[in-house]
Symmetry: C2
Subunit: 334 residues, 2 copies
DNA sequence: TTGTACGCGTTATCAT
DNA sequence: ATGATAACGCGTACAA
């Protein structure tokens, strides 16, 4: 492994000064065309590779953005990360990625690592640190689809999503509407799914049940919990046309599987709507009707907000951007 | 945003020199306990935050590892990335992540970005640059589950995986064995799945068909292709018990869906085995029999190889580590 | 248009 | 046990 070539080497080789070499990269227009050619030549001959770390130390701009996702086993987060990484083409930022796995202690450590590397900003998708705590950090932060009272953030318009899902179930003339979600507080954007559901049901005087409870941390646990839920629902509303709006596609798919295993098909009186339009909803054996989250728009909006914050350091007032979802009708509703 | 505190500030505050402050972190045992306490105090009072970039410039160790994945829409890669990120706890390396999307031009750019940041090593999961080209780069590299003739790499023992899958189908007394995979060359580890299938069929004189062709780049395209394949298979082998070994779970799930849509169930004469044991195989409406890839072991082995290479710079001979898969029998085989 | 000199925040070497 | 000084590789006044 040969010694690394630096501006000094290029300078000696071309009989210019380091400064001129630096200018070749940062202000090429101040060099004569001839000298530019000479330097270009030397760079190739000596096989120069830039050292961005030295650059960062000198000018402060690391072009790093830190990302903390809760996990990557959920397709939703993997897809979000994918879209964020893709913004490299537009913005040029490189991404340092951490998975928090809902561990606040580790998350704090990840954050201090990130700050130690002079990241210019952070995108937070995990839920385990409050926006109040995060807002005290000395770098621009944008959240995606999480509590964000003290930080800029983007979310899907979950209320509207719940509204169109619930209204669609109503239009199907369901006898009973059911919503399954975790126990949430109003600060959590997901709560708006519950909120929207309840609002429609109450305004329209629709028979309904809200199931708001712990839904498991692993796939197996979740599966077990939904098996219980299915038993209850199946008995309680026997013979009635059920419209079941479930908090996300992964859970909707689990529920669908359980119904199917029990009946060897999806009975006409079961109508299921998920949320997210994640790939599982499309790839499920019976493609699942769901509320489409525009992940592309969400992640792009997040990056726009963040880049803006980075460039105009002034901490103006908070911005919360909402992205409109839409209903994707597939085959779990009849 | 207050000015950043540096060793200089701490030094002035404590009336020590910068050197001593540095030693506090790197060789604390050479300080008296009293002075350690003084410095510790000052660090807290002034709210010092370390600057790793400066550290890197001074000692060369960035603690960065670059990762290039083909994409994150495929659960397999997302899960692999997840396990790699988790090794932070053990090895302390931070990860710069890029998605290549099978674009060799972009991948080369990503790599030069990574090198510009003094990464200490790279893990390559994408397929679009040859190991020969990659081997010329001036940093340690480990590949996972891809062509790796000129580089250290880890792969699942695909041959053995194919062997147990095919043998199982044989034990089910299938009339015809079919393997569906992309057109591959022997350098590609996935080719071993085809190889293993053919070997068993030929040794045991089993009627078989190898379908080795382009299988699409998007979900929709893949779906269309498999619909064609299903039509052909369904007609050609009507009434025969079919054992279909498909290159991966995503494809197996697509195929399963197509069969189901056609027959409204999975007929007894259809036996499907996937590969990977990715979450879709478990979450499919009919859980898919598959070959389990130990992603945890794979990614950990990759990191071990890489860290070893980083620490013992000498380029010894190539190491290719293989991880044993196992058969997970679920409900798509009878 | 080009060069000099210093700064960025650490670590390493050699003193003391 | 502690300090002075020179790296590390690049950017940027300021000068010429």
């Amino acid at each position: 492994m040969q010694k690394k070539i630096t501006f000094d080497d290029i300078a000696k080789y071309t009989h210019f000064s380091k400064t001129t070499i630096s200018r070749y990269f940062n202000h090429p227009e101040t060099l004569t065309e001839k000298n530019r050619a000479i330097i270009k030549d030397a760079l190739e001959k000596l096989n120069y590779h830039e050292n961005k770390l030295a650059k960062v130390l000198a000018n402060g701009k690391s072009e790093f953005i830190g990302i903390i996702v809760p996990n990557l086993s959920m397709h939703y987060y993997a897809e979000m990360l994918s879209h964020i990484l893709a913004t490299y083409q537009e913005f040029g930022y490189k991404f340092l990625v951490f998975e928090s796995n809902d561990d606040p202690v580790m998350e704090r450590q990840y954050i201090s690592e990130l700050i130690a590397y002079n990241i210019e900003g952070m995108i937070i998708l995990s839920h385990c640190l409050s926006s109040q705590e995060l807002s005290r950090l000395p770098i621009p932060i944008v959240t995606i689809e999480r509590e964000s009272q003290f930080l800029n953030g983007v979310t899907t318009d979950n209320y509207h999503g719940a509204l169109i899902a619930t209204s669609y179930l109503q239009s199907l003339n369901c006898d009973i509407l059911i919503h399954i979600n975790s126990e949430l507080t109003p600060e959590n954007p997901d709560y708006e799914r519950t909120h929207g559901f309840l609002d429609v049901c109450e305004k329209e005087h629709l028979p309904h049940q809200l199931i708001a409870q712990y839904l498991g941390a692993t796939w197996d646990e979740t599966n077990t919990i939904y098996e219980d839920l299915f038993q209850q629902i199946d008995i309680k509303y026997q013979g009635q046309k059920k419209g079941i709006f479930i908090a996300n596609d992964t859970h909707a798919n689990i529920f669908l599987n359980i119904v199917y295993r029990h009946y060897r098909n999806l009975p006409e009186d079961y109508n299921i709507i998920g949320f997210d339009d994640s790939s599982i909803s499309r790839e499920a054996l019976i493609p699942i009707t769901t509320v489409h989250q525009n992940i592309d728009t969400l992640s792009h909006a997040a990056m726009e907000l963040l880049v803006d914050q980075i460039q105009n350091q002034k901490s103006k007032q908070l911005i919360h951007r909402q992205v409109e979802p839409s209903l994707i009708i597939r085959q779990t509703t009849h």
